[in-house]
């Protein structure tokens, strides 16, 4: 038996960008192996009024990563007198992850918010910093269950389409929130690491960031 510096604490997160809104949601269960550590641990970092980051994976790396990002975004605000934009944060997150390429943060991130045009933007990552801007995405232990549902339900234009179209969903904000809720309820049926509750952050230019909590299966 050799010691490993990594653990997998489970959890699922979803982000959806729409026209004039952005949704980021993540389950709150923290597990190790077959044990539940707590039913109420947030995986979402509200960076500022324009950007949210959700990370599934190993909790130790997640809290370190979130602290590093908070530190840098606060420094940015001191220097530039404005909050970091979501695309800027997305690039920095990619660099931060790649900086630890050979001892990676074992986290699977989504960076989402509103861009300068007020359009929802979502960036999806792997553990070592590769990333891509997409219209919606899903990470974590339940991603295999949820991603196909999103592909099917969100009616976003295909990325393969030419000429390329903006990849945000045509769904209204309320429809998209409903889809997120259904996706989490479904994931908690089969994924033992997704459950207890889901935090849903909704970002709009008019109302800023609003948070809602939906209870899930607790077993």
């Amino acid at each position: 038996m050799s010691w490993s510096p990594y653990d997998l604490n489970g959890g699922t997160c979803i982000a959806i960008g729409g026209e004039g809104y952005c949704i980021v949601a993540a389950s709150t269960r923290l597990s190790t192996g077959f044990s539940i550590l707590t039913a109420d641990k947030s995986m979402i970092l509200p960076v500022n009024s324009k950007c949210l980051i959700a990370s599934a994976g190993f909790d130790g790396d997640r809290s370190q990563l979130h602290k590093v990002l908070t530190f840098r975004s606060e420094n940015y605000e001191h220097f530039h007198k404005k909050p970091m934009s979501c695309p800027a944060m997305a690039q920095m997150l990619g660099n931060t992850l790649y900086y630890k390429r050979f001892f990676p943060y074992y986290t699977f991130n989504l960076c989402a918010g509103l861009d300068d045009q007020g359009l929802g933007c979502v960036y999806t990552y792997d553990a070592i910093g590769s990333h891509e801007r997409v219209g919606y995405s899903c990470q974590g232990s339940g991603k295999d269950l949820v991603q196909p549902v999103l592909d099917n339900q969100l009616k976003a234009p295909s990325i393969l389409e030419l000429p390329p179209k903006v990849a945000v969903t045509s769904l209204s904000k309320d429809e998209a929130i409903e889809t997120v809720k259904i996706a989490f309820s479904a994931a908690s049926e089969r994924d033992i690491y997704t459950g207890d509750a889901v935090e849903i952050f909704v970002m709009t230019p008019e109302h800023g960031v609003q948070k809602e909590i939906l209870p899930l299966r607790r077993d």
Partner: protein, 288 residues
């Protein structure tokens, strides 16, 4: 040395901790690792350094903890109306040997905070020194500011995580509990990898399996001290019946806004003369 060469399989998300390759005693899981396994691996060994040249040159190779020696088991903590309650037994086990029987595993940090530890006792004593230094610092500043339980917890999270980053972990699961003038009672935990959480109730190692179901059912943040103490005793009793590396000698600590109180060691009443205990196979018809 660093097992990050396994990365490609990590990148595929999902529970890579498959039930078929990892049983509780063999999985590389933080919360269970400090339970000494009675399996095939030699119980007390420090893994040989990969750098044999360094060793043969006469210089001692740098040794990291790859296995705990003297370990403490479960620590339990719950919130109640006026504060928090924490309990642990006093055993320091050497593998499965009950080696030390008066080990104090709950530490008073200051007037608002206590820390309990399971896992490697010597590492916990080192952590005690770190916390002592912090408190000395508070004293020397002499500005009326003292560390809150939340701050102690955050600090210990960084300490544990930094050591895991050095591949030289402090082999403990720590529980921090206390009360804060502004934000009320606090109970939190951090494991040797830096995995941390706060909740209304916390338990490490075996306690997470045996006591927390009781807590989930019966613990309320507004329960009285008496109710909290009897719930805690019940949880300890269940642990004592089922966890062979525990002894019937406990310490109970409470923190209220008036300060910290840590009890003298005490024992619980236990009952072993139930019929099912006397002749366990009697009611198991047919099989063993």
């Amino acid at each position: 040395m660093i097992p990050h060469c396994q990365l490609p399989s990590h990148i595929a998300t999902g529970p890579h901790v498959s039930p078929f390759v990892s049983s509780p005693s063999h999985a590389g899981r933080a919360e269970d690792l400090h339970v000494p396994s009675s399996g095939s691996s030699a119980p007390f060994s420090v893994a040989p350094s990969a750098d044999h040249a360094e060793a043969s040159a006469g210089a001692e190779p740098r040794k990291h903890t790859t296995y705990p020696y003297v370990t403490g088991n479960s620590v339990l903590a719950i919130k109640y109306k006026d504060g928090v309650l924490m309990a642990a037994d006093m055993l320091g086990a050497y593998g499965s040997t009950k080696r030390y029987k008066s080990v104090q595993r709950i530490l008073r940090v200051n007037d608002t905070t206590i820390v309990g530890a399971s896992g490697e006792i010597s590492d916990f004593q080192y952590i005690s020194n770190l916390l002592d230094e912090l408190m000395t610092q508070d004293f020397c500043y002499d500005d009326g500011c003292t560390m809150t339980p939340k701050e102690v917890h955050a600090y210990l999270c960084r300490v544990m995580y930094n050591r895991r980053n050095k591949m030289d972990p402090l082999w403990n699961s720590l529980v921090v509990a206390g009360v804060d003038k502004t934000s009320g009672s606090f109970v939190g935990s951090v494991g040797m990898l830096g995995t941390s959480y706060t909740d209304s109730h916390v338990a490490t190692s075996f306690g997470n399996h045996l006591s927390r179901p009781l807590f989930r059912e019966f613990q309320r943040d507004d329960m009285s001290l008496e109710e909290a103490v009897s719930l805690m005793q019940e949880a300890l009793r269940v642990l004592f019946y089922r966890d062979k590396t525990s002894i019937n000698k406990y310490v109970l600590a409470k923190v209220e806004s008036s300060g910290v109180a840590i009890s003298k060691p005490f024992a619980l009443d236990t009952k072993w003369d139930l019929k099912a205990f006397v002749n366990p196979s009697k009611h198991a018809v047919g099989s063993w």
